[in-house]
């Protein structure tokens, strides 16, 4: 299989691999290695430049995903493709709603919701068919994507980085769930950057590097280190320790904030200069609201937020950025980038308010050199062309671009939500190093992440969020992952929650 994109980029170079019936087959590789491209070809979303596919020993060249779906192939995409404004059940049934139509073309919603609810029950997930997609946290949206595929009774399931947005305990449940799919006799292709997951789940592993297949290995014949080396070509050190440059002054203080909807309740904390403060928690426990509250796009019912002493609660996003705040959102496609616009335009956004490219007229050379330095510093692989649309970048490269742009503010406080979601080992290190460099200059970082390993390796202090409250706080080096997960799941610390709805 080969694929050259219209812009001349060779994403796949004559790769071959084979998936056996009933196995979980992991595909690993750095950002931009071509994993999503390969899967999109299997699913009929894009056409290969050359090569062929045999599916159950029959030639198969899907021109459209519907042909793949007809053969029982289902795919969960790296970037969500859900309709925001309709319910879970509607999204899942979408395209098959005629099953529930009466002769008068009226959709029987009850039957529809019931059939979706029965699937949800069988998988023991906690989603209601009536929830609107835009009211769900990102981890729940991921589950809806998977439900959608399983609902179509796919026998061959492609999962493109399904765990990138899940919290640790959700990941364990999810892996169990994927094993369950295998037990049902289905075949799974699983893509992930987390080798731990890959090793606990996969039967066989195929390694891609820059558009080439390095090989397919039985899990028993390789270990983590060797796979990591084959992916990148060099050895990397996977262990990390938080930076050590704590100052005394507080750069950000949050005093008893609650939002109007009551998702975050009476949250208070201090961030000191040179500190990385981690927020751990299962997705949907107030992380998004915390981010929005700091960004200035969420109405607060009470409380105050102070940046280096002065209140920013009544400022809008622009004024907060001027005061020294930078924001890495966890929704890069929806909120962090304009995918249809070029890399340059995406890098300029926000910085243009600081007069970096002129007050009225855009100074092209300044915009270019600014962009080129971000692209170079953060190793954004874009075929050297900064005029390409961001949509053409691989997921991880988009993320690097987003992180690079926000750190380029040299902020006093950086708020980073899932900064390494879908990023490979090397890029993850690069992003973490950039955080370390930032705190050395006396800035503070709020790190909201579902990745416990990341938080424990980076944060000086961890606050666990549960149902919008800070239930516990731990300081490096007294981290205990089991303890943290108890707090995250409400086994500890939440007993005195008077407002609990459960």
């Amino acid at each position: 299989m080969s694929k050259t994109y219209p812009n001349g980029l060779e994403a796949l170079r004559e790769v071959s691999f084979e998936v056996r019936k009933g196995e979980i087959h992991a595909i690993v590789g750095e950002n931009g290695a071509g994993k999503s491209t390969l899967m999109n070809i299997l699913f009929g979303l894009i056409k290969p430049t050359s090569g062929e596919i045999l599916f159950n020993n029959n030639h198969f060249s899907p021109k459209h995903p519907s042909e793949a779906i007809d053969l029982g192939i289902g795919m969960v995409h790296q970037h969500f493709k859900l309709v925001q404004s309709i319910t879970v059940a509607e999204n899942i049934v979408l395209g098959m709603e005629n099953r529930f139509q009466s002769k008068l073309r009226r959709v029987d919603r009850e039957a529809m919701n019931e059939s979706v609810a029965s699937l949800i029950d069988r998988l023991r997930m906690s989603i209601s068919p009536d929830d609107r997609i835009d009211s769900l946290p990102i981890s729940k949206r991921q589950q809806v994507e998977i439900l959608k595929v399983l609902y179509r009774e796919a026998d061959f399931v492609i999962l493109d980085e399904p765990t990138a947005v899940l919290a640790p305990n959700e990941v364990e449940d999810f892996l169990e769930f994927v094993r369950g799919i295998r037990e049902m006799g289905k075949t799974v292709i699983f893509i992930s950057h987390r080798l731990g997951e890959v090793f606990s789940l996969a039967d066989r592993i195929t390694i891609l590097r820059r558009g080439n297949v390095i090989g397919t290995f039985d899990k028993r014949d390789v270990d983590r280190e060797s796979v990591a080396n084959m992916m990148i070509g060099t050895a990397t050190d996977l262990s990390e320790d938080p930076p050590d440059c704590l100052g005394n002054e507080s750069v950000l203080s949050v005093e008893g904030i609650s939002d109007v909807s009551g998702t975050i309740r009476d949250l208070s904390f201090q961030l000191r200069e040179g500190e990385i403060l981690g927020f751990a928690g299962v997705g949907g426990n107030g992380q998004e609201e915390l981010f929005e509250a700091l960004a200035g796009s969420l109405r607060l019912a009470s409380g105050d937020i102070r940046l280096v002493g002065s209140s920013i609660s009544s400022l809008d996003t622009l004024e907060r950025r001027r005061a020294g705040l930078a924001l890495i959102t966890d929704d890069r496609m929806g909120k962090g980038l304009a995918p249809d616009r070029s890399i340059v335009e995406n890098c300029m956004a926000g910085h243009h308010k600081f007069g970096k490219f002129g007050k009225w007229l855009i100074k092209d050379t300044d915009a270019r050199s600014f962009t080129e330095s971000i692209v170079a510093d953060y190793d954004v692989r874009c075929g050297k062309n900064i005029k390409t649309a961001v949509r053409a970048l691989s997921g991880g490269n988009m993320q690097k671009l987003l992180v690079g742009r926000e750190i380029a503010y040299e902020p006093v406080v950086l708020v980073a939500a899932q900064p390494t979601a879908g990023v490979d080992v090397a890029a993850r290190k690069l992003i973490h190093d950039s955080f370390r460099r930032l705190v050395k200059t006396g800035s503070g970082v709020i790190l909201i992440s579902g990745d416990l390993e990341e938080i424990m390796g980076l944060a000086n202090r961890i606050i666990v969020l549960y149902r919008g409250r800070a239930v516990t706080e731990m300081t490096h080096p007294h981290y205990d992952p089991t303890e943290i997960s108890y707090y995250m799941t409400g086994i500890r610390g939440a007993q005195d929650d008077r407002y609990s709805h459960s």
Binding site: Y5, A349, H352, W360, L361
Partner: protein
Amino acid sequence: MIGTRTLSFRKLLLSLLLVLCILSVWALIIWFGGESPFKGFRYIIEGSLGNHYQFLSTLNKMVPLILAAAAVAVPAWTGMWNIGGEGQLLLGAFGAALVGFSIDFGVGLVNIVVALIVSAAFGMAWAAWPAFFKIKLRMDEVVTTLMGNYIAAQLIAYLINNPFRDPRSPLAQTPYIKSSFVIPYLFEGSQFSATFFVAIGMVLVLFIFRKRFITGYEFDITGSNPVFAGLSGIRVKKTKLLSMLIGGALAGLAGGLLVLGMTQRVMQSFSPGYGFTGLLICLLAFNDPLLIVGIAFLFSALQTGSVNLQLFTSVPAEISGVLQAVMVLFVAAFKTFIVGRREG
């Protein structure tokens, strides 16, 4: 870079096919109208470009079309729909006429500039309330701007019937503007005037504004992803409001130029639907100012050419509307193939 070239080659082929499709359906329609298509095309081309009078008349007709299309394009950059060009244009025309028959500053140029500024301001005001309702009450601007057209038409009908009716005229129309407000014709026997250069100038300004100015860049980012724009510190509501105001001003200016450069007064059925034709042109031009000029030229040539067609054949001049519609249909159908798909 082979990939790029094959794709653009494909695009070129498709564009050629598109033109071919349009021309053959046009030929068919003219043939049904009882005329040989080749002769028909010849009459249209001769009638629009044949001699310099006809050419000038084609250019002159472009003025309101260009501006009305730009009035849709600028708000579209930020993701707003301005369907109200027609009403804004009427208000603008009235504003210019009002200044023209009631005030005089003594100097012709000053008069003209003031009248044009007032026409833009009137158009802007008519775009302001839908924009305001959208931003404050989240009322859909498609509905409000569209509704605004009908309100504007009634309002103007009232104004030219009662308070501002020319007392010496049997018809409902305003008095003539004073001669010092008139933008003179440049050539004997043609209505072509400096208004054309004003329209072209505006297009160039808009083009540069979008490509080179910080605010123009903000327009594009807001239109592309408003949530992202907001998180980047762009004031999304303000930006959308501003784009609507500019759109309204452009439509108003179109009305003002029509009054000062041609009609010299506002009468019943002042606009034969410039606003809506502008909308079509803008859609065909994908909101791009330079393409707008090209498409407006085509539309305008079709209109002047069709008059000639009617003169020499049995085909009615209204045919130009049908031919336009064919063009719009085909372009809409081909659009997805030429630019719509992200991936080849």
